[in-house]
Symmetry: C2
């Protein structure tokens, strides 16, 4: 056991070195990763919607308790119409807590003005990526903004109910011929409900896979419910293996949508399970 | 991924079939195991000391939320001097909650009378095993009780502070030549603090390994602290592999000794991590 532990630490150290050159997370993020050795290759984050019922201080307290250092910030933590002072205050709270805001979203965009607001917000929050959902007719304009501001967009799939992007293939077909800074935030729960094969999706869309919302669901059908990671139907061992295989360089952000007024035990179980899989898959 | 999922379910089903013939957990326990597929080969339980600050109802509520079906009952849930009516009431609560009380302990025994009390209690609680700590001079008498009542005893190691059984070897040397129903409850955290090599201990003492207290610790030294599973120094992948290798037939009971007035998130993270390792190690 001592030998395998030593090997494991060496592997983790190599992973760290590799992560330092990732295009999707910066140097500050890499140092934050050192807090959790199992995440050297696949850092774990939180999608801000998880904390929909809580203020920023409570969200930070939960992230600290869970030792999670990456946040996809959502308007619940920082409204899109925040002024500079409000933005500064919230960003400084996360910075003091050693939490890296690595993207913003999910941001829905139905007008050009909403696209402008989203990109201006991203610039002010100092992220280089938006997780967003522009309508089809806004994709040209969105692409112009991506080019003009050098801010990536990861379009999020939202399951069978979503008329625009139910599954990852519906995102990919709309961005594959566009600027390479336009990609996919694969929500594995919604994708599973939409009938997507996760392994195929990750392999097929790997060149545009910018972000992940990880969660579990009770079944591969529309009305399946959110559940703690490990209790549902998603095969996380297979997921981690394919993410390693494609050399995924983004964050795995847990979006927990059960028990939203008392989510901490469920988030903790979910993160524990995912970290356990990370520790055991080489 | 669909294929690996199918294979995984098949493996779990085979594990279930194997578990039905285990000597350490009965048929009722096997049906309880069906609630969590990853635990077909290594069921997860809770050591009752984890709920030291809570009454039975709150302990049951936490176990239900965590979907854990095995309890090593401790005097906090049911005092050793309980009368028949009190025992009946507590047992019925756990039974209604579909929680199997598979052992009782840790019970400390410093007099013959305390040995008598422990074995009478085990009989009334209807468990076939005590997790206990008899002093050396009581081992002959304890062995007589084991033979007379056909109740096993798993002696618990409690780390460097423990003058009797700091590490698993200190238990094994005292029981190896005694009745085969005398064995070890290996506390992996205390064993690690005592300098034991867990893989060696499990291999060397496999014929007498009846129970496990699983947890993590911040280091392999006396003053190391309890911490959420996965955050410490214990290699759970290696642990699960050696438990599979020896075909361990007992329960893996989490004993969480941090944040004891607010333990649920830490227990959840710990159980999640362990289940994640179980899901990924074949």
């Amino acid at each position: 056991m001592k030998n395998s532990r030593r090997n494991f630490i060496q592997k983790a150290a190599l992973g760290m070195a590799g992560a330092a050159s990732t295009p999707f997370i910066g140097q500050a993020a890499v140092s934050a990763m050192e807090t959790f050795k199992t995440e050297a290759r696949l850092p774990v984050g939180i999608a801000g919607y998880t904390f929909a019922k809580f203020d920023v201080d409570k969200a930070i307290a939960m992230m600290n308790r869970l030792d999670v250092r990456f946040l996809s910030i959502k308007d619940m933590q920082l409204p899109l119409n925040s002024n500079d002072e409000q933005i500064k205050e919230v960003l400084s709270k996360f910075k003091e807590a050693n939490i890296k805001i690595y993207t913003a979203g999910v941001i829905y965009m139905k007008t050009k003005q909403e696209v402008d607001v989203a990109f201006d917000y991203a610039k002010k929050v100092a992220v280089d990526m938006i997780v967003g959902v522009p309508t089809y007719d806004l994709l040209d304009y969105t692409e112009q903004k991506v080019k003009a501001m050098n801010i990536k967009i990861a379009i999020h799939n939202h399951g069978p109910e979503d008329k625009l992007y139910p599954g990852p293939q519906n995102v990919y077909e709309h961005i594959k011929n566009r600027d390479q800074r336009m990609g996919l935030c694969l929500d594995i729960g919604h994708a599973t409900r939409a009938g997507a094969n996760l392994e195929d999706a990750i392999n097929d869309y790997k060149d545009r896979l910018f972000d992940l919302h990880i969660k579990d669901v009770t079944g591969a059908f529309k009305d399946a419910k959110a559940i703690e990671i490990g209790r549902g139907v998603i095969d996380f061992e297979a997921l981690v293996k394919v993410l390693y295989k494609i050399n995924y360089k983004g964050v795995c952000s847990i979006e927990f949508e059960k028990d939203m007024t008392d989510p901490l035990p469920g988030i903790a179980e979910s993160i524990g399970f995912f970290r356990g899989v990370l520790a055991a898959v080489s």
